[in-house]
Symmetry: C2
DNA sequence: ATCTAGTTAAACTGTTTGGCTAATCCCGAG
DNA sequence: CTCGGGATTAGCCAAACAGTTTAACTAGAT
């Protein structure tokens, strides 16, 4: 990647059992940056969250900018690397779709901060995102293309309708991510999400697969063949 | 609403043709707040954007906090009020769906700042959003329910499959908004979006309607009856 | 004892906010 | 026309605060 993405610092002690301060800082910074954004985050708050002195932040990461860029770089890589690996060797498009949805939702659920950081960067319109994407583009197995290719293949095999793979991929990702992004709003508008978010996520997972499966299957598909585990009788209520 | 949402200030001149400074400030603040976030925004920058002196900001809106809350309050109201009004008197669910998608996309395209402000508020996890939503909940014709009700009715009439209206609404909204939110990323990943975003939006519009129409129609629907204007041969490529 | 990485408290520097004042502009009323 | 008053400006100030730096302290290793 373009930026320095390795967590490097003065702490390269031989075999010491030191509490990995650098990691503590990184985690704390990620947490605070994702919640408050780059500008809203205070070095003091990060230091507090890491349980260390403010000056130590500068000892490990010279400046706030550098700390932020390190955070973002790691998030970006983690995001990219994780992206395609759920799709290993499934065969039918229905299986691929389900694996993709599950993988995406699981990832975001576990790495909420990563997503929020990416979101913040998208909103703030800085150059960081662009640089990283530009670099990722050069990569051989650019992960975003995997699902897109699967869609394209399924279209070619007439397994699904002749949709635009890029648009379709965007729709799937939208459906999987948006409700995490707007969780506060969703929570206010949806009783289930408010009282049991995990249950809501499961319901959402089923719904997304269901609506996309029906939305994508080829026109001459057998109506009664709901794919295994589609949620029962074909509805998602 | 809870907060003071009327743009009030010292400028209550009788019939003067004065340049509505308050409005200028408001627009500038909205622009800057949406681009930089509440914390990233500088009062000086807002003043510059409005083409006025910084002291005048404090003259009209005492503090930054107050200016921000006013901005957010107005955005929230505008968003809520606009929400349901595209659905006036269409009949078939397909028409309703199309009108909703078109209305939503048009609104967000014209009021990008509004959306970004709402997004920022969602991310930052402040109390503002909650307060406003709480208040809006009490409102008689809570606009978000309109589309939800249309979906519910269509399900009851068996015009569409037995989907969960809340989930379905969320999916529609996701599909319409998410690509605006992540526009920088989408632009990098999609050549069409990069060179002609408007064309991309039109394509997206068709795709969303198409995939949702097929995803929602009831299982026994006539396969060949693609609704008027669905984009031709049923695909969206 | 000395060296070094890790850590800290305190100081330094620049910026931002909020507030204030005095001067000016501009319009409409008298 | 002049006057008055709201609108607006430049400019200043103090307090707060954030980011950064410095110098000193600690504890374990050599």
């Amino acid at each position: 990647m373009t930026a320095d993405t390795t967590i490097s610092g003065p702490s390269r002690r031989s075999g010491t059992t030191a509490p990995d301060t650098e990691r503590q800082i990184f985690d704390a910074a990620l947490e605070v940056f994702s919640r408050k954004g780059k500008d809203g985050a205070r070095m003091q708050e990060i230091a507090d969250a890491a349980g260390i002195n403010r000056a130590l932040l500068h000892y490990y990461f010279r400046t706030k900018q550098q700390l932020y860029e390190t955070c973002f770089g790691h998030c970006f890589e983690r995001f990219m690397q994780t992206f395609g690996q759920w799709l290993s060797d499934t065969d039918s498009f229905a299986d691929t779709l389900r694996a993709f949805i599950d993988g995406y939702i699981d990832f975001v659920r576990e790495h909420r901060q990563v997503m929020r950081l990416m979101l913040n960067e998208n909103l703030s319109g800085g150059t960081l995102l662009g640089e990283h994407l530009e670099a990722a583009f050069q990569t051989e197995g650019f992960p975003q293309r995997i699902m897109e290719d699967r869609i394209r293949e399924a279209v070619a095999r007439a397994e699904i309708r002749g949709v635009d793979p890029k648009q379709t991929l965007l729709t799937i990702v939208s459906a999987c991510l948006f409700f995490f992004v707007t969780r506060p709003t969703v929570t206010y508008l949806n009783p289930l999400a408010a009282e049991d978010f995990d249950a809501f996520v499961e319901e959402r997972r089923r719904h997304i697969f269901d609506i996309l499966y029906y939305g994508l299957r080829s026109g001459d598909a057998d109506q009664s063949s709901s794919p295994a585990g589609a949620g029962g009788e074909g509805g998602d209520r």
